[in-house]
Symmetry: C2
Subunit: 337 residues, 2 copies
């Protein structure tokens, strides 16, 4: 039996067409998701395996995407490390963020089965339903998770994070290493539970200078990626906003690099030093445009992505205002190439 | 008499040291600014030449920066074009944004003396006080101004802007061209009133793909820059978040390229195709760190910037939480190189 299209592309193989999935494909643009979500809070949904399995499967049923991704949140492991997390209408809030070296004492690695059993159950449950469609596990990359720990919310300027880094560099390195170790345990457990690939989301890494990326973000991320690759599943690193420093990003050592929409995907691949596999990179806002424009841009990405090691995706998560018809047009265009 | 250091660096000349000014140097981090601002609204301050002159001069008096910049706002010319603008605690609001081609009928070029006389008076007044310190005029670049016209506020995802571009490309080009023409008249008037250089702030251009930059942002900006260069003053283009596409940014045709902090400034200059002059590029968040770190990073930028055509600046505006002592440390470090 041939391995699924998605996994072959992740390994840098030549595929008959580009496999396709969308970041945040289980989300608010889907009426069936909004229906489930109407009855429960976001955190309840993440922590109730039956419901999390259901929303993980929804986009597969509707569009037949080539991979499913675990429905969960970047902050789940941070809560398991010991930081209280609340979800408000304005986004996540951590009432007791890390602001001093002493605050690190409140954080620790954790036993994934004991603290995040609901995630592992969701993975096992989704796998039972998915058949041949591979399931992607995920977590935040250490830098991005650290910004939530330090800022206590989704930041704008990331001033607290950088202040902590510059004023307490040793504590910053310890915090990032600790998050990296906890994330390693968490993702290894996801793989054991059935995840067939894992993606690290470095959603905020684009706020760093090349020097700060190399000093703070890269070492714990590269260590984490190396440990995850040892499990045998492909590791995808998505560095949002990092198009300017892809030469440094390549040192993460991932199997697949997710790239945002700033650069054409063939240029991004070249700047990554000819990465074996890339994932992306349609601007999600194109899905707000007319079908002809969606099709034209999707075909251009398929052409530039090439037949070898290209997973089609957006350059960032799909937004709630995208019409279903736009996704249908995208799926049809990518499949027909 | 030798021309001022700042103007010589803008022309790509070799200077004895890098001239220094800071984006948003007349701003809330200064106690004397907060004192003026306590008595008036932000818009009143912009529209009262006596007060606008005062806050323009404050950072020069305190730090002796090598250039002053007009105190004003990006939205002043948009209001003069016909769109109502309000300033709220959450930032600017335009209650009647541009959402359809018909909405363009509400916008027109304007007579700068008639509609923005307060800006020209501020420039003339500041020049009388500034002595040998050159004064920079400024405006938003067409794309960035268009985002405010379309979104009606500072956006996060810029979905409305891109939707307008993709659904109404002809109207989008007309809107961008119209803003470009109005900005040309506005900045030419600033030069006639006494501005010795002009800076275009393309604050949001980093949200565009290379293709969209080339299609939408570049043509009106390049036309505007060419018209402004004909006045004989140096034209600075600051493309925030555009480090990934500096090869395209270079086609703007500016005298000086302001660059954000993502890339070391020598790499940025190389990607710009060896720009004659560059401006930047310390991460403003470094000013939240200890003095030793500020000094180390400032010296590194001076070293990488080289002696030819380098204006020292931040990679983005200074933030209100920066301590005065941090700016003092920065000024001393740059001057001592």
């Amino acid at each position: 039996m041939t391995a699924p299209l998605f996994l072959r592309a992740c390994r840098g193989e030549t595929t008959e067409r580009a496999p396709l999935w969308l970041m945040r494909q289980a989300g608010r643009y889907l009426p069936e998701y909004r229906q489930v979500r109407a009855g429960v809070s976001f955190l309840e949904l993440c922590k109730t395996p039956k419901l999390a399995v259901e929303v993980t499967l929804q986009p597969i049923r509707r569009f037949g995407f080539d991979a499913a991704i675990l429905f969960s949140d970047l902050l789940v492991p941070l809560e398991a490390m010991g930081l209280a997390v609340e979800f408000t209408d304005e986004g996540p809030r951590l009432p007791q963020p890390v602001r001093t070296p002493a605050d690190l004492g409140r954080l620790a690695t954790f036993d994934p089965a004991a603290r995040t059993g609901f995630v592992l159950e969701t993975i096992a449950g989704a796998r039972r339903e998915l058949g041949d469609t591979p399931l992607i596990g995920f977590a935040g990359a250490p830098f991005t998770v650290a910004t939530y720990a330090i800022e206590g919310k989704t930041s704008k300027g990331f001033g607290e994070t950088k202040k902590f880094f510059y004023r307490e560099p040793e504590a910053a390195h310890r915090l990032l290493a600790l998050i990296g170790e906890a994330t390693r345990d968490y993702l290894v457990a996801q793989v054991r539970a059935g995840a067939q690939a894992v993606q690290l989301f470095d959603s905020w890494v684009g706020v760093l200078s090349a020097e700060d990326f190399e000093t703070y973000a890269l070492p714990p991320t590269a260590a984490l990626v190396a440990a995850l690759r040892a499990t045998g599943v492909p590791v995808i690193y998505f560095g949002n906003g990092a198009a300017a420093i892809l030469d440094r990003v390549a040192r993460v050592g991932a199997d697949v690099y997710g790239v945002d929409w700033r650069l054409p995907i063939d240029e991004a691949r070249a700047r990554l030093g000819g990465a074996r596999a890339v994932q992306g990179n349609l601007d999600p806002a194109v899905l707000l445009g007319p079908a002809a424009e969606i099709e034209r841009r999707a075909r251009e990405i398929v052409r530039r992505g090439g037949k070898r090691g290209h997973v089609f995706n957006l350059g960032h998560g799909i937004t709630p205002d995208v019409p279903i018809e736009a996704v249908e047009a995208l799926v049809a265009a990518v499949r027909s190439c």
